[in-house]
Symmetry: C2
Subunit: 181 residues, 2 copies
């Protein structure tokens, strides 16, 4: 798998924040030349494709400062230190939507921005949802609107640009293949 490995010659951590760490590394390329790589370390995240008993997809809308706009996404959240991704997924579904799920299945993991970041998202499918009586509160700095939309509505939101998030676009396709078979 690791043809063309780039060996680190020197490296420096330039910033360590609450969420991300920035490193710049000088690497040796396969031809012996050197170049600099700007690298973001991220703790990783989970995302949940939650489908109600009526076959509706559960989305959350929130302001994303990086893009200076609101985005409609599937529920998602960062993995806390030492937390197993499945635990994060169950927690985030509860915090963001108030739902628990009797069926919780791992779908797939993927890197989101491999050109500069190590962020990996672990995607889960949650079905047989039930409302939790007193759901745990989410992060203090998260303000979220919950939406439940049909698959047809979700596909229309892909076409018209209302869904503008990679993990959510993938999840809509996954739901389409799941619900249409």
């Amino acid at each position: 798998m690791d043809t063309y490995e780039e060996k680190t010659v020197t490296g420096e951590t330039l910033y360590e924040g609450k969420v991300i760490t920035l490193r710049v590394e000088e690497v040796e390329l396969p031809d012996g030349k050197r170049t600099a790589r700007e690298l973001i370390r991220h703790p990783g995240a989970v995302a949940i494709l939650a489908i109600t008993s009526e076959g509706k997809l559960v989305f959350v809308e929130q302001y994303r400062k990086a893009l200076e706009r609101s985005l409609i996404e599937i529920p998602a959240g960062k993995i806390d230190a030492g937390e197993a991704p499945e635990v994060t997924a169950i927690r985030e579904l509860e915090e963001e939507t108030g739902y628990g799920a009797r069926e919780f299945i791992f779908i797939q993991s993927f890197a989101t921005s491999p050109g500069f970041a190590d962020e990996v998202i672990h995607l889960y499918l949650a079905r047989d949802l039930y409302p939790i009586d007193n759901p745990a509160a989410g992060d203090e700095d998260e303000f979220i609107n919950i939406m439940e939309v049909s698959l047809a509505e979700a596909e229309e939101m892909m076409t018209n640009g209302s869904i503008f998030d990679a993990k959510t676009a993938f999840a809509v396709f996954y739901a389409k293949n799941l619900l249409n078979t």
Copy 2:
């Protein structure tokens, strides 16, 4: 769309690199409280779902330093300053695969890591491919293996984890819906 907007109170650029810029901004939340947001600015990128006349998907394998492993991805690349995304897409397809395409169609744009980065990927479909006689060379620091795989092979690579990249996973689903209808 912009319910819960977070207004910037103060901000500072902590790093400006070749590819990414790091800013930390203090924002005012909808409830009047304040929090810090760590933000990565990125020029944006394109990715190309290229399908040969035999119905094979064109992938490239390259070492991704951020993840310290090789990844199999659809062809992709950063947008140069002032470049139209479609021009980037045609250029990157040539540089990374040696192919031109008689059919080049915009599919969709999406944010890759909206929690901390403004990177947007513009995804294109390229078909009716032809080999370019003397294709333009890619970046000096890019070392790439080209692969052409059937849809069934690509789906197997999703299942077994060989495809571990969000845009590529989305593209495989897109191809499945395109080729199976």
